[in-house]
């Protein structure tokens, strides 16, 4: 048969994509040029609006704002990660009471705005000062920064618990069964077989969560923690200079971009054995 006689050279291939100036191609180039012009315009504006006096006066504030943002998010993510383990365990529990409690926790903290949670913690606990004094907790809630850490940690713990749960459950059941047939203990299975596979799945969502927290933390000035965004607003209200917001946007972009690359790098490291 002629079909079976075909050599590798005469295999039927799909036609080559048409070359030339298709509509999409023109649109694509147009958009790239537009973006490039906007980028150039932005840089040109920043150069033309450069004001050394302004920079010297307000740059230290920005630096302290970046410090507040990073430490707030850093501490909250770590505390949230620790809290998320028992919550994820509760979400997967067969005990209806534990599962219900964990579900309610996640339901509340994912279903209400972070802004409302921060406000509730800061001003809500503030109105229970005598009671908090009595149990010796007021020193903690007196500081706005602690209140922010508290609210942010609880919030991110809910999201991280769901990420963790989803990742663990994404590992096929056969892995558990296989480990059990080899006589491995449940905790051993979790640590040596399930988690290494689950964390590959969880890495991207974790990265998203950190990035969302960095941007979400911009609301914290409402409870008098002057992070990068709070400093920016203060600066703007004194200078009425629009570039104060532009600088904040650029700094946020740089932070997020750095994180993105870090996560890419980690992913490449931990999936080396999957590369083909």
């Amino acid at each position: 048969m002629s079909a079976s006689m075909q050599t590798a050279d005469s295999v039927e291939r799909p036609p080559l994509p048409p070359h030339g100036w298709s509509r999409q191609r023109i649109l694509g180039y147009g958009l790239v040029v537009l973006w490039a012009f906007m980028g150039i315009g932005l840089v040109a504006y920043l150069i033309s609006a450069w004001n050394t006096e302004l920079f010297q006066k307000y740059a230290p504030g920005y630096v302290s704002g970046i410090g507040i943002t990073l430490s707030l998010v850093g501490i909250s993510i770590v505390v949230g990660a620790i809290l998320s383990v028992p919550i994820a365990y509760g979400r997967m529990s067969r005990n209806p009471v534990i599962a219900g409690l964990a579900y309610a926790y996640v339901y509340f903290f994912r279903g209400t705005p972070l802004l409302a949670q921060a406000f509730l913690v800061y001003y809500g606990f503030g109105s229970f000062r005598p009671e908090l004094d009595a149990v010796g907790l007021w020193w903690f809630f007196r500081e706005a920064f602690n209140c922010a850490i508290f609210a942010f940690s609880l919030n991110t713990a809910a999201y991280q618990a769901e990420i963790l749960r989803g990742a663990i459950q994404s590992v096929p059941k056969g892995q558990w069964e296989g480990a059990a047939s080899l006589g491995l203990h449940k905790l051993q299975t979790l640590r040596k077989i399930i988690l290494p596979q689950a964390l590959i799945v969880a890495l991207r969502p974790y990265g998203n969560e950190v990035i969302l927290m960095i941007k979400g933390s911009a609301i914290v000035a409402i409870i008098t923690v002057y992070d990068l965004m709070g400093i920016t607003r203060l600066t703007y209200s004194r200078t009425f200079d629009f570039q104060s917001y532009l600088w904040a946007a650029i700094i946020y972009l740089l932070i997020v971009e750095t994180l993105r690359h870090a996560i890419d790098w980690i992913e490449r490291r931990i999936t080396r054995h999957l590369k083909r």
Binding site: S127, L234, Y236, F240
Partner: protein
């Protein structure tokens, strides 16, 4: 054909917009904060009230224009004026050199001194830098009081808050040792049940470079006709007793201050 249709449509839309603009030409939009009682405040059902609002209404009546009030967060109020969301700010805005670089002001329509308040059991004796050394002071951000506090109380921690209500909460629960704001605003709060925690320490002598000559009406730069209209209207309600009537509705003393 389609292009011609579009042009015709756009033209008629533009005409329509022009027509409505002309019909509404006499409506002056006034921006105010709505979180600074007794000067301006949002009622429970969302209406604006207060000294600023009554004065603004009296000025509009005097100028024979219809006025519409718009509530706007304090730290965005000048950008909102510049963006054309409203035509004038009547919101107890102090006339300061920093702001005058961005907007024009009318003459003042009142002038009251700033003051310090503290909890009733406070050991703060006065309002000087030494009296407040080591204390935490709350102020509303983006105000002359914030500028004054950061410049004067350099040995204290100055905490900026978005609105007056929030520093009041924190002074009541003890996160703050003192607050700095307009004496009238503080007195009104201290007289209310919410302010029972705290007392007035004393008034601060205003510094003209920081506090300015008083509160004025802010308008976009270069709109001199509107400014002259407002100035004439302020003089008119001062002269015909309308100002005194509003003043007495809210205060037991004259908030206009001396002729400066």
């Amino acid at each position: 054909m389609r292009i011609a249709m579009r042009i015709a449509l756009a033209a008629s839309a533009a005409l329509l917009a022009l027509g409505t603009a002309q019909a509404q030409e006499k409506v002056l939009k006034i921006g105010t904060e709505g979180a600074y009682p007794p000067f301006n405040n949002l009622t429970a059902d969302g209406k604006l009230e207060g000294f600023d609002v009554d004065i603004a209404q009296a000025l509009c009546d005097e100028m024979k224009v219809k006025c519409e009030f718009i509530a706007q967060d304090w730290d965005g109020i000048i950008p909102a004026l510049q963006a054309g969301k409203f035509d004038a700010i009547i919101a107890s805005m102090s006339i300061t050199p920093e702001r005058m670089e961005k907007v024009d002001f009318t003459n003042k329509y009142y002038n009251t001194p700033p003051a310090i308040a503290a909890p009733k059991d406070s050991d703060i004796k006065g309002v000087t830098k030494e009296d407040l050394a080591g204390k935490t002071i709350g102020v509303q951000a983006s105000t002359t009081h914030f500028n004054y506090s950061t410049a004067t109380y350099t040995d204290s921690t100055v905490k900026p808050y978005p609105t007056a209500q929030e520093y009041q909460l924190d002074l009541a629960n003890g996160r703050l040792d003192a607050v700095n704001d307009d004496i009238v605003v503080l007195s009104q709060w201290l007289d209310s049940p919410d302010g029972a925690c705290c007392k007035l320490i004393g008034a601060i002598k205003p510094v003209v470079e920081i506090h300015g000559p008083g509160a004025g009406i802010a308008i976009r730069k270069g709109e001199t006709a509107l400014r002259d209209q407002f100035n004439a209207a302020i003089d008119a309600i001062r002269a015909n007793g309308k100002y005194k009537e509003i003043n007495d509705k809210y205060f037991k003393f004259d908030v206009y201050g001396g002729d400066s």
